[in-house]
Assembly symmetry: D2
């Protein structure tokens, strides 16, 4: 391997990135500058600097990017109802590009030769990291140890750590692979690797409780939106980060936002994960309910396609691309009148709508009522049906003539 | 109004169609042949012939179309995961075209001059009925009394019934407007006309119970599919109709399949409805879970768009069109390997996946595992990322040269 | 018919709208204020005021909306490559909403009771006019004489004109139905009503010549674009209106932009038209060529779908809707780097690319070359193919195990 | 490199694959079985066996796959109007999967250890070959010499050939990179590598002439279709292969089907090519014209999206996938009534429609006529517009109340 002078490492303090520090120094003889992104995983950051330095890093940057994560990544996706494969609320996918952007900034500032990440060669995150790095510096060298070293498993990692006296709490007990941030917590691996297995929720869950353990009394909340963005809970203004924290608490308690799925990774295989996204699930639900009042049919139906694409684009790590920007421009335009209040009842895993109001509501009781109205002429339907159905009429006439006949 | 000799009326035995018999005879001087479609609403059909004849009809056809409804309408939609506006499982939309087809057949057999339906001029059903009629006989005359008579409300209907001695059980107490069949029960009107109101589920629900009233003990079931169609429950073979009946019972008891939505009608206004679709909701859920194992990513993602369109097409009454047929041809092709078992846990409104297996599963633990594998070369990722990211690289290089710079 | 005080009429000076003045006064006893929109049809406007007043109008507004037509309607569509059914460049569809907007403004200013247009009840234009009117004043009364009067044909119109001494040049010779503006000229009717007939181009064409009559020597031009908008021709700056005029001249001479199509009208029937759009065809072609250099693949492919939808939305008269605005927001975002020069060879109906350059080109000879390069590692392809093809691999393995086998 | 016993090589007889024989034997010590696919390039196959054996191959299979190419690949795409990036008629993309399928069959029969192809590591064809190979044998080893050997350019190839006495006609004069089959001929490289350069058509073209050299007299032809497939020319029945040959001749003479484009390759870079597809261009044009008569609007518009996707899927080498099969199932369903005659005028690069007829035409002069008709009630439009425009009305009313106002 070529000699390097200095590298910047995306560092979490876990087993993988701890070992990587040593491995980098051993193999490249380089200085290792660590960067940890605070994306709301909080407690994991305590004592991190000490740990990094002890493990051999020359420096640790802790970048607080929680606010940016919420405002520049989560909220645009929320406005688009962007979901991957109908289920996944993109928790990990949001965090990667923003961390990568900081890695490039710090690599430039530190005059580093390469950026290093601890992602496996089988996952999406390596792609998300590297695409974002390419967007900000297409010439930056990237090192992904998992793709090149000889270590093949957790056990071999621990062997390596012990052999190199890497000062971390080591346990040979197996654990799920997890990713945590303000928005979500994911669980993969172990018994989850067989989709035939029911997840052991009571052992797994951390942000929330299982459905059975949620309270028998429902919780009612009211969320207020402006331009498609949540701004208040129960009448009290919140910034985005605090709002999500608060909703995680309320949602988690009521078993909201559990998701178990077999998903299609970008790198071509299916994988199975369990996700907890309590606050996010509530926000997505409420936003869609509000849109049902504020968007007209044609906009709403086409926006479903746009959101479907945006979910794919984000999951695939294409955040910093013209397509993502254009999709968001479409979405933003539709959100100008998405404002109002959504009252929800949370109960043992269920989100139940309990009332929606909007100053820009396109629901018109005047038109919709079963009672007599002043505004709608029922005779209009006849003309509508005749023209809307004209292609069917013409075809049926052609079929008669051709003896084809509708089936 | 022109004199008519004989008409065929889509008859339910309710207030609307009872009055229409009298109104038709009064205004057109015609014989009225009634047709009731049995779409699984069952009990509503008891004593219907007597009622129809007493009210002035010359004849009543009761057409049992439940099996056709399930096999030719519901299952194709299920295979496509076709939903309208992300929520509505199309219960009413399925039933209309098939009834209309029978109306045309009977009108031809009876040599009738027109087909009459009791749909309001504000709803979707008039469109669904009439488009299907046009598909089978583009020259058939259609009469829609609600669009042309002077009666404007339920009260005026009752006045009319009393004035004409129409022998039906009459109550001035108001009721939700309902539509029931094997698949679902819908509720509209009254307090539901204001989206700000939380539905009074304990008063409304008939097929199911409210979340709170569901048992504290979960119910586990296993559904088996072949070619995308459910064929067995808990290992026991069922035909489609019986399976849905059984699932309605199980699902209803566990508060599954409640849906409260503001939807966009085809005729241009928004309306609000509460739907109960207990068995259907379970089937859609299970089918999608199974597809997560059996369909590859590209097929699955594009099929989402196809299903989105199919939901629209069905809701819009376009069942008997080339587009609907072509969408279903796409879908059928994808279902050849959608087979296997889905185990579900039903608990107080929640459907929780408890295990999926398929002989055609594309989930490969061999590829997905976090442990060492024999089949996947992690180095492949590097090449993949470099080429997948090449457009980002090229653009970033162009931006550097042009001093544009990624944002 | 109800008495009206004053109406505003969309007036062209042709037979239809001339008769309508008299008919309106006869039937509603109202004052008729005429409005003609100058959309570049130019010569048709000479002497129009005199004609309107002579025919009974109280006033004529001539609104010059050519610039607005180009900048606010044509250019946004051009940026989106919006076309209807792969062929139609939307000439008529652009002009209607903008005229309608002026009609509403003048109706408000004049305190008129209704807006009147001379569109047939079979066409798209009635829809385009009226949807735009609804967007600006949902309560404005609209009168469409063709839908309500007894006149059924051109001959009956002439009879009516003669009987009422309407002072217009009357000819019983039949003519194609035409619509002209800066962007295009359309021809419908007569022998064109049978799609089996080849159009008699040498008799029909006005803006252009037939292919055979175009010069034997090609014309080369260079168009320059900024942010997706054409700004110069052969190095000389032009405003939008002048540029289109100039290109109409050059294109028309070279037989560019003839289009003969059977199209699907919004009101449900197919119709057949011949369109001349010489300048517009050149602009669309050049813009797309430039985009092939400036847009990345994912943006470009998705933008094709957006343009497809935009073409539909514009054709369907939905200009003043949130969906149209959102589609344009998407498109605008993509055009930021669509700049450069496109050299074209025009020759007897053909537009032949003769060179494209852009400061923001994403074409990289460095990557594309067949010769040795420094930037591309061919080994990356292997990893790319392995992962890109992984779903195929996994499926083939499953098929082997299941004895299914690829076909 | 590992020792191999026997390999199967996709062989063309050109410089690349000739060298590869020697290189394989030198590096792997293996027997080389050559396979050439006859896809209509004809003359290139003369003397090929002798050449292969002389160059060191143990055997040459010549597989005639022209008929399969036309019927199983070209016609399904034609039915879908599948095009890549609005221009490319997929000539090369059609041929690759079918050749790959034969390679696998022969590799199995010959009990070979690997399949070898001569595609560059920068192009699409390597992907198309290898994805198809994976579909038929996911465990088959593939060798792509261009990705691994040290030869970097044509000059180095010639050096290698000379050094190894490879008995082929060698010229150091540079040439465009070409791919030829029944459907098309592509040209890449040299001056074409700069999109600013106008192609030297008079030097490049082989299947056709430049626009200027086409005759001054137009050629009229009539194509007949059944179920979306061309079956006769000028009333004479032709099988698919002969029809395309005949149309290539006629089209080529009239300068039809030249295409110059900058396209986005699957492997991430843009490339520039000139394509000649004379017969294919005529067929695509004629098919679309016929569909304008035979397909209803909704089917036609949605089918445009399906065709757009199919073009992408084929270009991307995903022929043997469930998605491609499902797209084709959709398309086939729509083609049942696509039958009739299309008369075309070919003139100096232009295809001009000269009459379309179909027994299943949905064009109805009865409905479309400007003259009085019996079938269309113009008053229906009013109801249609009121309901079609209801969302606009409701929104405008909301805006009035909210003081938002349409822009």
């Amino acid at each position: 391997m070529n000699k390097l002078n200095k590298v910047v490492l995306a560092y979490s303090g876990g087993l993988d990135t701890s070992i990587i520090i040593t491995w980098l120094k051993e193999n490249y003889g380089c200085e290792v500058v660590c960067v940890a992104g605070n994306v709301g995983q909080n407690d994991e950051l305590d004592g991190l600097e000490e740990k990094a330095l002890k493990t051999g890093a020359s420096k640790l940057y802790i970048e607080d990017i929680t606010k940016e994560l919420v405002e520049d990544f989560i909220f645009p996706a929320l406005k688009g109802n962007a979901v991957y494969e109908g289920k996944y609320l993109l928790g990990t996918a949001f965090a990667r590009p923003i961390i990568a952007k900081r890695l490039v900034e710090i690599a430039h500032k530190e005059n580093a030769d390469a950026i290093v990440h601890g992602c496996t060669g089988k996952g999406n995150d390596q792609v998300r990291f590297e695409l974002a790095i390419k967007a900000f510096d297409p010439d930056m060298k990237v090192i992904a140890p998992w793709r090149i070293w000889d270590i093949k498993s957790r056990d071999e990692e621990i062997d390596y750590a012990e052999a190199h006296n890497i000062p971390i709490k080591i346990t040979r007990e197996t654990n799920y692979s997890k990713d945590k941030n303000l928005w979500h917590l994911s669980h993969e691996g172990l018994d989850l690797e067989d989709p035939a297995n029911e997840p052991k929720y009571d052992e797994i869950l951390e942000m929330s409780v299982s459905h059975e353990k949620a309270p028998d009394i429902p919780t009612y909340i009211t969320l207020s939106f402006e331009k498609g963005i949540p701004v208040a809970l129960n009448g009290e203004k919140f910034d985005g980060v605090s709002l999500i924290q608060k909703l995680n608490e309320i949602g988690g308690k009521n078993a909201i936002g559990l998701c178990d799925m077999v998903e299609n990774r970008l790198v071509g295989m299916k994988s199975r994960g369990v996700y907890e996204t309590p606050g996010g699930t509530i926000l997505y639900y409420a936003h869609k309910e509000l849109e049902s009042l504020c968007l007209d049919r044609e906009t709403s139906h086409y926006k479903e396609l746009i959101g479907h694409k945006l979910g794919e684009v984000i999951y695939f790590g294409q955040w910093y691309t013209p397509l993502r920007e254009a999709l968001c421009a479409f979405i933003d335009k539709t959100q100008e009148t998405v404002a109002g209040d959504v009252k929800l009842k949370l109960y043992k895993g269920n989100i139940i709508t309990a009332g929606i109001t909007s100053p820009y509501s396109l629901y018109s009781e005047e038109f919709a009522t079963f009672n007599e109205d002043e505004v709608y002429n029922q005779m209009d339907s006849q003309g509508f049906i005749n023209l809307y159905g004209l292609p069917i009429t013409v075809r049926a006439k052609m079929q008669k003539q051709s003896n084809l006949g509708a089936k």
